[in-house]
């Protein structure tokens, strides 16, 4: 338990103050860098050092987003990409976890499938793009499939590594109590590998975004990746920058959610 004592000594109060001040400095510096970069970008575009046709500018990005919103398509594109990413992410994590469990349960299967997993992991998934279009069509199923493909292998490998790394002493203890493999899994392996699971979620969330945007690059009629590709093709860099900016916010937000979930889960475990 945290010590709730507030009768700190003067030195301790100073120490806390110093920590707090350092924290403020870091946050302030972060904000300042962002504001400076955006300001400089806007300035260069206004003054004419940059050609805004090529580089766009913060004000033009804001206008573009406002236009998309006015046209009613902003949330449509965001929704499509978000749906593809989340569905792909969830399926990849659930399926990857299940496969990792099966591989953990059966050592033979682990040995047999290992080289396949390694090759699949090394393969640049975008190479499968044409195949995916032919098999899955040009709808969002293809993009979700791409998302799963990009993130599932890491889910399998991370979780399997997490399972295998569970403390051997605890496994011996379980065996000495007469636990079978299934009990071992439910009572020890799964709870003990929770930190590995949280870590897997964090990695998978990033990969899911790569998968969905990559999928939209290959084939799509809507979504943020579509806006970026379309904007690039018709040389509307405002659109490219606006979509990229929104993407930044969404990806950061989703990662933050996972990180918060992790913190809550880890805290509850004590």
């Amino acid at each position: 338990m945290k010590n709730k004592n507030t009768n700190y000594s003067v030195q301790h109060a100073l120490y806390l103050k110093k920590i707090k001040r350092n924290k403020i400095i870091v946050h302030a510096a972060r904000a300042l860098i962002l504001v400076a970069l955006i300001g400089l970008w806007e300035l260069c575009a206004q003054v004419g050092i940059f050609d805004p046709f090529i580089t766009s500018s913060p004000s033009r990005v804001v206008t573009t987003i406002a236009d998309l919103f006015a046209a009613g398509t902003l949330f449509y594109h965001i929704g499509i990409t978000l749906m593809e990413t989340i569905v792909g992410f969830v399926i990849a994590v659930v399926l990857g976890y299940a496969i990792a469990v099966l591989l953990w349960l059966n050592e033979h299967a682990r040995a047999i499938f290992e080289p396949y997993i390694v090759v699949l992991n090394a393969l640049p998934k975008i190479a499968l793009g044409p195949l995916i279009i032919i098999w899955m069509g040009t709808g969002y199923t293809a993009i979700i499939f791409m998302t799963i493909l990009v993130s599932i292998i890491v889910c399998i490998m991370n979780m399997l590594a997490g399972f295998v790394a569970v403390d051997k002493t605890k496994q011996i203890l379980m065996r000495s109590m007469g636990a079978n493999k299934f009990t071992m899994l439910t009572k020890l392996i799964i709870p003990a590998s929770l930190p590995a699971f949280m870590n897997t979620l964090k990695v998978a969330v990033g990969l899911a975004w790569i998968g969905s945007i990559m999928g939209e690059y290959i084939v799509s009629r809507a979504g943020l990746g579509y806006l970026i590709v379309y904007g690039g093709q018709v040389f509307r860099l405002d659109l490219v920058m606006a979509a990229t900016f929104i993407l930044c916010l969404l990806a950061g937000g989703m990662y933050a959610i996972v990180a918060i979930v992790e913190r809550v889960v880890v805290k509850r475990r004590g």
Binding site: M1, D167, T169, K170, I172, L173, M174, R175, S176, M177, G178, A179, T183, K187, L188, P191, A192, L194, R269, G270
Partner: protein, 242 residues
């Protein structure tokens, strides 16, 4: 007789070859007796416990078990950090499918008796090393084993905690009238705790000496103070070849 090894040998097989861990080993543990097995490190002491628990089968020879369950206590407390102390104590009951209200009540009574009452809802991480080891012992006792197998259960503790926990565990085991087989490399620990000490050779482990200990009246602290302690220590040392 509670546990008897007769001419037991065990060989490990790995790709790089085979290792004889234990060879022609014979000894006996009587009901209610506290027996320690000491030997040089790496001599296959833990193998003996795995054999006794039936986790592995002997390559040759015979191990007779005289009824009752076995409980294993390991080098580290191996408490599950995601479970409270109480849930940790219930673990063997859940695994052995014996988590009846009666068994649970018994386990809680044990916990209470040995001073864990105020810690039941705490997480193991909030406990000191000595307290954690006590929880590990109560967890082992919860399934009501007749015999306890102790694999250097104090080796992860610092010396001062170790002395205290050593006495603590001894008293609880004696109090609950359990049979115990302890493996350790610590000579003084073996003398302080046991009714009998079995000395093993280096690998492959064979018995090189057996000593019944009667002095000191059965309390580890009194044993350590007894003047028979030092001579026996020297004898065991010689037998171990140090």
């Amino acid at each position: 007789m509670n546990l008897r090894f007769t001419d037991v040998s065990y060989t490990y097989h790995t790709l790089s070859g085979e290792t004889k861990a234990v060879e022609h080993l014979s000894f006996e543990v009587e009901e209610g007796e506290f027996v320690s097995v000491i030997g040089p490190s790496g001599c296959g002491k833990s193998t003996i416990l795995s054999l006794a628990a039936g986790l592995i089968a002997p390559s040759s020879g015979n191990i007779a078990r005289g009824g009752g369950q076995f409980g294993y206590m390991l080098q580290t407390d191996a408490l599950f950090p995601w479970r409270t102390v109480e849930q940790n104590i219930f673990l063997p009951l859940e695994i052995k499918r014996k988590n009846t209200p009666e068994m649970k009540r018994n386990a809680l009574m044990l916990a209470e008796k040995y001073g864990l009452k105020d810690f039941l809802s705490k997480s193991p991480s909030q406990l000191s090393g000595g307290m954690r080891q006590r929880v590990a012992l109560i967890r082992t006792l919860a399934a009501q084993p007749q015999t306890l197998l102790l694999d250097e259960p104090f080796s992860a503790l610092d010396y001062q905690t170790r002395l205290a926990v050593c006495d603590d565990v001894h008293d609880i085991i004696k109090n609950e009238k359990k049979t115990a087989l302890l493996v350790t490399h610590d000579i003084s620990e073996a003398i302080a705790l046991s009714d009998k000490v079995v000395v093993l050779s280096s690998r492959p482990a064979r018995v090189v000496g057996e000593h019944e200990i009667t002095f000191g009246g059965g309390s580890p602290k009194k044993r350590r103070e007894c003047r028979d302690f030092a001579p026996l220590f020297e004898t065991l040392r010689t037998e171990l070849g140090i």
